[in-house]
């Protein structure tokens, strides 16, 4: 028997368009009640995967399960899904009421119940007074709320959203993000959310799936993926990282030394060395915001200070992004600004704590 605690399950799913493989052997679960995000650059196969789950695209190989039932050959209109698109896709010739009632009509819900459910859905998305309007009489943000209401009113097994916030402007996007998360929690509906925006992905997900070139690079809780990237791609795609080839030194009392090919030596923890599978060829990954800049060297337990010179400063308001040259190599550093940013050309020390030196096995992926 299939595991019924998963709303969606992909088993070895492959999607080919002719010679081109858009999705390569994908294994993935969307647990009940959870918010799962597909994050990756444009063209990595997020939409294709979502469309396979929806039934809008055929699965070339592998099995697709919804609530434990294989649905590879079940057409979309029998799948009981909520679908929300980037461009809202409301029915322009129908009123908001009729838009939301559309799915209920096909579920043979009684007239009175339809009115009640539509009213409730409009309350939920905080637009109780627009039932009689047409979509083009609403703003973009309002239209997207209606699209959401239309998708959830049918109580779908899964809610699928393909970049639903990308068409909105920045402020509205943030507001909708909070709203969407609230509604998802309130209803406890299993949700797959596609985005190429990392802050959206980090803020909303219970589970983050980072995709690249048709494969899953890493999946896990957002903070795990963020703090412990499993590949150079993930390290680089989520935030800004310094990735440097290195060789592991011998472990001493608390830390292991990491000899960078650029000449410096960092320290790392046992938790990290455990990932290198015995090899001493590694890459050190240090996030830009995990490096502390200061005028004086101030090394404590497990902290290394590397001297360098500030090459450029990007002033970003609350924080600044620096490029620091040390031993002919440029490091990216993001630090909060205390009073005023460090000056271009200043001599500086980069402080890196052992717990912030993440290791990837091998010199290359």
């Amino acid at each position: 028997m299939a595991d019924t605690t998963n709303a969606v399950e992909l088993q070895n799913v492959v999607k080919r368009y002719g010679e081109f493989t858009a999705v390569k052997r994908m294994d993935l679960t969307v647990p009940d009640n959870s918010f799962v995000t597909f994050l990756g650059p444009s063209g990595c196969g997020k939409t294709t995967t979502l469309r396979m789950i929806a039934g809008l695209t055929d699965v070339t190989e592998g099995d697709l399960l919804i609530r434990g039932k294989r649905v590879n050959n079940l057409p979309i209109h029998k799948r009981n899904l909520g679908l929300v698109f980037q461009n809202y896709a409301l029915f322009p010739h129908k009123t908001i009421f009729d838009n939301i009632a559309f799915g209920l009509k096909y579920r043979k819900v009684a007239k009175a119940d339809i009115a009640k459910k539509v009213t409730d859905a409009l309350e939920l998305v905080q637009l109780p007074h627009v039932a009689d309007r047409y979509p083009n009489q609403l703003s973009g943000g309002q239209q997207q709320r209606i699209a959401l209401a239309r998708a959830i009113v049918i109580e779908p097994d899964v809610l699928l959203l393909d970049e639903p916030l990308s068409a909105l402007d920045a402020n509205l996007r943030e507001e909708m993000r909070v709203e969407l998360k609230r509604i998802q929690r309130e209803l406890g509906i299993a949700t797959v959310f596609v985005t190429h925006d990392q802050s959206e992905a980090l803020a909303m997900s219970d589970k983050l799936v980072v995709m690249n070139n048709g494969i899953v690079e890493q999946e896990g809780a957002p903070e795990d993926v963020y703090n412990n990237p499993a590949s150079a791609f993930v390290a680089d795609f989520l935030g800004h990282s310094n990735i440097i080839a290195a060789n592991l030194g011998s472990p001493n009392a608390a830390f292991t030394s990491v000899n960078l090919q650029s000449g410096e030596t960092l320290l790392t923890t046992d938790e990290q060395t455990a990932k290198t599978k015995g090899s001493t060829d590694v890459r050190a990954v240090v996030r830009a915001e995990k490096i502390q800049l200061s005028d004086q060297s101030d090394t404590g337990e497990g902290v290394i200070a590397i001297p360098g010179k500030i090459k450029t400063v990007d002033y970003l308001g609350q924080q600044a992004r620096y490029f620091v040259t040390a031993n002919g190599r440029d490091w990216q550093v993001i630090n909060p600004i205390d009073a005023r940013p460090h000056k271009e050309g200043a001599d500086i020390f980069m402080h890196i704590a052992a717990r912030n030196c993440v290791l990837l096995p091998g010199h290359q992926d």
Binding site: A54, L56, P75, I76, H77, K78, R79, N80, L81, G82, L83, F85, N87, A89, L90, F91, P92, H93, T95, F102, G103, Y106, R107, H129, V130, A131, D132, R133, Y134, Q137, A147, R150, A151, I154
Partner: protein, 271 residues
């Protein structure tokens, strides 16, 4: 004189050249005198009355109406289905078929007329009203296909996908979503094919069976004997008919849209 005012004058002259003869025909249709010419001697509707009592003309008018109606029905149905196939599906030979569908616009009508005639002779089929209808369908079809295609391209696929995700079958989606959204184009195609069929003469002359006349072929036949003022009246009727039909359709569409909008505004205000 600036370039723009020259262009304006040239434009006015071209339109005068195009429309003055039509105006003359319509004016002379109301002339009381038997022998058409200016100045007009008195206003009269006698030529319109004469039309009404001319059996041949009334018969031709009925034939034209029937032919136009059937042509627009068949053409619109086939053309809409073809446009759907072209825009919504991928299949081998799509480009070729697409070119063939609009080819009748590019080929001179005479060539098309002769080709169809020869083709049917090769099949040893006699001329018939059915053949005439078929001919009209062939060369009104491209207009329907082009108009409906243009509209379909602008109907987003994700609207249909949303409908299906909500439980509508593909057929239900077509009738609930796609068809209402492309209806203006379908209506336009229908009007186009009706008017084109209604005043076609070249193809009709080749294809019509003996004894069957449409309004244009009837006028043509009458012209061979004499230029009777009745022809002016018939011309006026045709002009008014082909201009009024689209105008009436457009204003009906506008009134319906306004009523819908007003109803929704009223409800919004009441809420």
């Amino acid at each position: 004189m600036s370039g723009w005012s020259m262009i304006r004058i040239a434009t006015i002259l071209v339109y005068l050249f195009l429309f003055a003869p039509v105006a003359v025909v319509i004016l002379l249709a109301f002339n009381a005198n038997q022998f058409g010419g200016f100045p007009i001697e008195g206003f009269s509707l006698r030529w319109f009355e004469a039309l009404w009592h001319n059996d041949a003309i009334v018969r031709a008018f009925k034939t034209s109406l029937l032919l136009g109606f059937l042509t627009s029905m068949v053409s619109t149905t086939l053309g809409t289905m073809a446009a759907l196939a072209m825009v919504r599906y991928d299949f081998p030979g799509k480009r070729t078929i697409s070119t063939l569908l609009v080819a009748p616009i590019l080929i001179p009508e005479v060539v098309l007329a002769v080709a169809l005639l020869l083709f049917l002779q090769a099949l040893s089929m006699p001329k018939s009203f059915g053949l005439l209808l078929m001919g009209h369908v062939v060369f009104t079809l491209p207009f329907v296909v082009l108009v409906v295609q243009a509209r379909l391209v602008s109907i987003r696929r994700d609207v249909e996908e949303a409908a299906m995700s909500l439980g509508a079958t593909p057929v239900q989606t077509f009738f609930e979503i796609t068809l209402p959204l492309m209806l203006p184009a379908v209506m336009a195609g229908m009007l186009f094919s009706f008017t084109i069929s209604f005043d076609d003469i070249t193809g009709t002359l080749f294809w019509k069976p003996g004894g069957v006349e449409t309004v244009p072929t009837q006028i043509f036949a009458m012209l061979r004997n004499s230029i009777s003022p009745e022809i002016n009246a018939l011309g006026a009727v045709m002009v008014i008919f082909t201009i009024a039909l689209p105008l009436i359709a457009a204003s009906i569409a506008r009134v319906m849209a306004m009523r819908k909008l007003r109803a929704s505004n009223r409800k919004t205000q009441a809420a």
